[in-house]
Structure formats: C-alpha cells, structure tokens
C-alpha cells in the first residue's frame, strides 16, 4: 500500500511552523521535502516529521547558533507557557512511572534552568524572546535553550572582572551572586549542582564558548572551551 504523503500545509500544522519556514528548511537541507515525479509541490512523510521532531538536541542547538522559527511544540515565548508545559512534563514523567525520588528533582532542575532564562533576559532579549523546551520521557532527556544574553554578559554587570565564558560558568554554578543585583538572587544553578551531586542525574550546560558537565553523583565541575560560540544558553538534562 502506498504511504500517505502529507501536504506542506499539513506538515506546517503538525510541526507548528510557517510554510515559508518549511520551504527554507527544504532548501537548506534541514528538513527535505519529497516531490512527486515531475511535480513541484512539496510533500512529507509522517515518519520523517516524527524523526525530525525527536532530535531535540539538534533542533535546540541549531536555534542557539542561528535565529529561526521553532516548532511551536517546543517554543515557550513567555514564562507562563513554560510553567504550563513544565507541569505537563511532570504529569508525563509520573505516568511513565518515574520514581518519586527523582521526578521532583528533574522537574525542579528543568524549572530553575528555564526560569533563569526568563528572569535574566526579561526586557533584554537580543533578538528572539523565550526558550526552547523539549523532553522525551522514553529517552529520559530534557533539553532547554535560549537566545538570551548568556551567563558572561549577565554576570559581568555585577562581577565586571569576569572576562571569559569559562570563568562565568564557574561562578554561576558555585557562588551565590546574582546578575540581577541589587536584587539578592541567583540560587538556581547552585541548586542544580547540589541536586546532581547527590542523584543519578547529569547535566550539560553551554553558554558562549564554555561547556560545563555535571556528572551524576559527582560534585566536581567539568568546564571546557568549545571551538564555537553560541547565543544564550543550551542545556541537556539526562536522568
């Protein structure tokens, strides 16, 4: 039996992006459409759309390197949308049978990382506001990203001596200091570190050209420099 092909309008509806975005993705190879023999119209297989949307890391990371439209299922334009989807993730994790010893911690870590993006960039987003927020309960993975100012730029307002992204990440995860001074804030990433040091959860966090890894049940910070620079922050949580 011949597989049913979806029109570009149907594919746009499913992914929650515009027709122009799908045409652009087809041209640049990000999501290649199918053309019937001799035809000019673009078609898509459901399976290809599912596969595309399942690669959370690729979609989120590409968004931090180049501004583009995000599939609506992953895009939280404001904090209210993020809170709602976080509660939805909590329900999905509970339904998947995730232990009560881990579930609140994964949700709290994702919440602190996502809220950080909104708290530190409110009114200051350089181009596109909001966060990418995707999760896959079967892969036990949560991915977050933003196109905000990034950790160095945020922290250097209160710690002007900070010059590199690597130093900024170290301070962000170890010292109680807030980029929102004079407000006394900035506990979120310290919380994240504490949770991971005592639990089977791991975290990859990237801002600018600095990459930080927190390994499960380990209090050490592993920070390295990357070859390239990204806009804002990019996070992978695995549990």
């Amino acid at each position: 039996m011949e597989e049913k092909l979806l029109t570009i309008a149907e594919a746009a509806e499913i992914l929650g992006v515009s027709l122009d975005t799908l045409r652009r993705w087809d041209k640049n190879g990000k999501l290649v459409a199918i053309r019937k023999e001799g035809g000019v119209h673009r078609y898509y297989r459901q399976n290809d759309l599912d596969l595309f949307a399942s690669d959370l890391i690729k979609i989120a990371h590409e968004w931090t390197t180049e501004v583009s439209e995000l599939p609506s299922m992953f895009y939280c334009e404001n904090s209210a949308v993020f809170q709602t989807r976080l509660a939805k993730m909590q329900n999905a994790m509970a339904q998947s049978g995730l232990s009560e010893k881990i579930l609140p911690l994964v949700v709290a870590v994702a919440g602190e990382v996502g809220n950080n993006s909104f708290d530190h960039n409110l009114g200051k987003w350089p181009d596109m506001p909001g966060v990418f927020f995707g999760y896959d309960v079967s892969k036990r993975q949560v991915v977050l990203a933003d196109r905000g100012l990034g950790v160095l730029s945020t922290l250097s307002r209160v710690r002007p001596e900070l010059k590199t992204h690597v130093d900024a990440l170290r301070v962000a995860f170890t010292e109680v200091v807030s980029g929102r001074a004079p407000e006394e804030r900035g506990n979120g990433l310290k919380f994240v570190r504490r949770v991971i040091a005592q639990n089977p959860i791991s975290l990859f966090f990237r801002s600018g050209d600095a990459e930080l890894r927190l390994k499960k049940d380990n209090n050490e910070l592993f920070i390295t420099r990357s070859q390239s620079i990204i806009r804002g922050c990019f996070t992978i949580i695995e549990y």
Binding site: Q83, Q90, A108, V176, N187
Partner: protein, 99 residues
C-alpha cells in the same frame, strides 16, 4: 495557623508564582494571633524549587522567625531547597520533629 502549600499548586517553581503566593497569603497573616506558630505543610506538593521557596519562605522566616515551623517531608526537592535556602540566608528553619 496551618498552611497547606498544595493550595498554591503542586508544581511550585517560579519566582513570580512564589511572589504571588506570598502576596495572596498576606491577607491571611492578619488573622494570626500573637505567639501563634505558622506551620508549613508540604504534603501534596510534587515539585518545589529555591526560586519559589525564596519568594515565599524566606520573607516568612524574616517575619516570624522561630514561629515559622516546617513540617517534615520525604520530598527530595523540598529537602534540598530548604537546605540551600538555609545556607544562603545563613539562618535555619525550625522544623517539626516527626511523631
């Protein structure tokens, strides 16, 4: 006075909602009589974070000191949050001993 935090939701995460909860609670505070304890019950809360806790519990701790009493819970997100807030504020919360 006994406060069931789940009345504010089961996912207590953001600073905004913590602040809103604290402001909403201010209208109840006037009913608290002198020397009365303010008991915080985490039963039914699924996820708790330092952002929410810092906006709700820290000002209550400043306001009521040792009259603010936290009920024991096994929820790991509550436990780690409370310890972190104590370290940051350099001040301990009074907790009710399990019976």
């Amino acid at each position: 006075m006994h406060i069931k935090l789940k009345k504010f939701g089961t996912t207590l995460i953001s600073r905004q909602s913590g602040k809103e909860a604290f402001l909403a609670f201010q209208s109840t505070i006037v009913d608290i009589v002198k020397d009365e304890n303010v008991e915080i019950d985490f039963d039914g809360v699924i996820t708790f974070s330092p952002s929410w806790g810092d906006e709700f519990l820290t000002p209550l701790l400043n306001q009521f000191g040792n009259r603010l009493v936290l009920f024991p819970t096994n929820n790991p997100s509550v436990k780690i949050t409370i310890k972190l807030l104590e370290d940051i504020n350099k001040r301990s919360f009074k907790t009710k001993q399990p019976e």
